[in-house]
């Protein structure tokens, strides 16, 4: 649309007839939108909303889910949690986990995607290769890492041979969680790399070429074009990264055998929730209260993120 047409259109928009047509269109827009959303919202209402509301209700109860008894507990559940050193251990561990993994996996995925989108030979091969870790189930990946990092494993022996120090990765409280972090970064980075790659497909190539003609290097091109263009996708990656990391379970469970050891160092929020929901008697209410607390923490974290990075990017 050229400038002349735009002014004509604008003046035309001011007439009431056009305004009426516009409001009719927005009504149609709205009904179309609800129609688009209908199947999703129906399924969500039936299968997802109920359980969430149940969890909210249960958080105020002392509940035995198996026998079907429950009684009012009010804020006792919350009080118990705040007094529990395991709660604070889970808090510390999960926060450490999130603060390390989310930035690392986001930056790494973005960097890899930018690199692989550029002039690289055997592009298809590399992307396929780098995609492989996402394909392994977290259970298999955990076992591999446990094998690598145990006291006679490759990594431990390598460090012993070259640095002379012995680190017992799996039984040392200081190192057990970092091993899980490393494992997580390794297996989720490819997932987000593919997402960024897909996002980069919609970035017009002529933008890059223009900058290159001006003499900008690869780093500058990506910083000034790729990163801003990918802002909405980055928002997705960081949000899903936050949600996923706050809810980390599988790896911590397998590595610690379910007890969150050594010395509560691999105890995460969801591991504690699982413990209360499935392993002890009469504590389903506690599990749900903890779930509510975790949800609130995640909401705060993502709201904070939203202030820093607008989810709408440039093309709102």
């Amino acid at each position: 649309m050229n400038a002349g047409m735009k002014t004509a259109a604008n003046t035309a928009l001011n007439s009431t007839a056009v305004r009426a047509a516009a409001s009719a269109r927005s009504n149609r827009d709205a009904s179309a939108a609800w129609a688009f959303l209908a199947p999703t919202l129906l399924l969500v209402a039936v299968f997802m909303l109920g359980p969430v509301l149940f969890a909210l209700f249960a958080s105020t109860q002392k509940m035995d889910l198996i026998g079907g008894h429950s009684q009012w507990a009010g804020t006792k559940n919350l009080q118990y949690l705040l007094d529990d050193h395991k709660f604070w251990a889970a808090c510390r561990n999960t926060l450490r986990y999130v603060l390390f993994v989310v930035p690392l996996q986001t930056v790494l995925a973005l960097a890899l995607a930018c690199v692989l989108n550029g002039r690289v030979k055997f592009k298809r091969g590399f992307v396929t290769l780098l995609f492989l870790p996402t394909l392994t189930s977290s259970a298999a990946m955990t076992m591999i890492f446990m094998w690598l990092f145990n006291n006679n494993g490759l990594v431990t022996q390598f460090i012993q041979a070259h640095f002379g120090i012995t680190i017992r990765f799996l039984s040392d409280p200081a190192w057990a969680l970092p091993v899980i972090m490393l494992m997580n970064v390794f297996s989720t980075t490819p997932h987000f790399m593919i997402v960024f790659l897909a996002g980069l497909q919609n970035v017009p190539r002529n933008l890059y070429e223009a900058m290159e003609l001006d003499g900008a290097g690869a780093l500058a091109r990506h910083w000034f074009i790729s990163v801003p263009q990918l802002a909405p996708i980055t928002f997705y990656v960081v949000t899903m990264g936050l949600i996923g990391c706050f809810q980390v379970f599988d790896q911590a469970f397998i590595m610690s055998g379910g007890d969150g050891g050594p010395e509560d160092s691999t105890l995460t929020f969801t591991l504690l929730i699982y413990h209360f929901a499935f392993k002890t008697y009469n504590t389903m209410g506690l599990a749900c209260m903890l779930a509510v607390v975790l949800t609130i923490i995640i909401v705060c974290a993502t709201s904070l993120l939203n202030r820093l990075v607008k989810s709408e990017g440039h093309n709102a």
Partner: protein
Amino acid sequence: MSVVALRSRRPGQRWASFGLHGFLIFYGLLTLTPFVWALLTSLKTVREIAVAESVLPVALNLDAYRQILGSEFSTWFYNSMSVALIVTLASVSANTLAGYALARMRFVGRGAVFRSLLLIIMVPAQVTMIPAFLIVARLGLADTHTALVLTSVVSIGSIFLMRQFFINFPTEIEEAAKLDGCTPLVTFLWIVLPMAAPALATQAIFIFMGVWNEFMKPLLYISSIDNYMLTQGLNAAAKQYEKSAAWNIIMAGSIVSIVPILILYIVLNKYFITLNDQTAGSK
């Protein structure tokens, strides 16, 4: 574009390209290691794995694969494949529609719907698992594949993904279509959707993978051996002895499970990789 191509590369650029490729090869080998390890382990006997003398197996032992493929493997494979395909098709459709509505259409309550959906996935699964099972049981869907399908079709993460992708799209083309008098549905189907190929491909792969590798949900919902998904079946096949894991079977199982996802990936990956020599036009 031809001007750039004709330009010869500066020496600094050649070194940088060298280093880059070197890094990619190194990282690529690093990611390949677990797979090679898994493959080698699947060809060993349990004793070899325990003794762990050498990385390579003494002899190519196909026992693990024979055990897996022997039992009701084909039933489980078929179950998983049919559920995964149905869910992928239905899910991609529903999620993309929803994502587009949340990104592009203006209506009252749009922000609230989006935020509520996100809120739902922030609640950890450990507490929603049992109530969800209760609902499935009350609806009479216990031990059915329908239960798996219905509970997997909506993937809020994918709705979120599609929304962000659609937000990134240039708005001019849609506005032009609107002025031409196209209904939202037509605009969506014929104009927006073709542009969304990379996002759709990504979504399809991840949804398929999610359903294919899902373990906890089938474990809860499915009780008859005939209805088992592949994940359950492989887990059952691996339990040779009480309290000890037959690693060769577990690894063989994971290698076998990867094959369909890899095939899907190979089919779809051209949508999110641009090859160097194409003249990708401005969109």
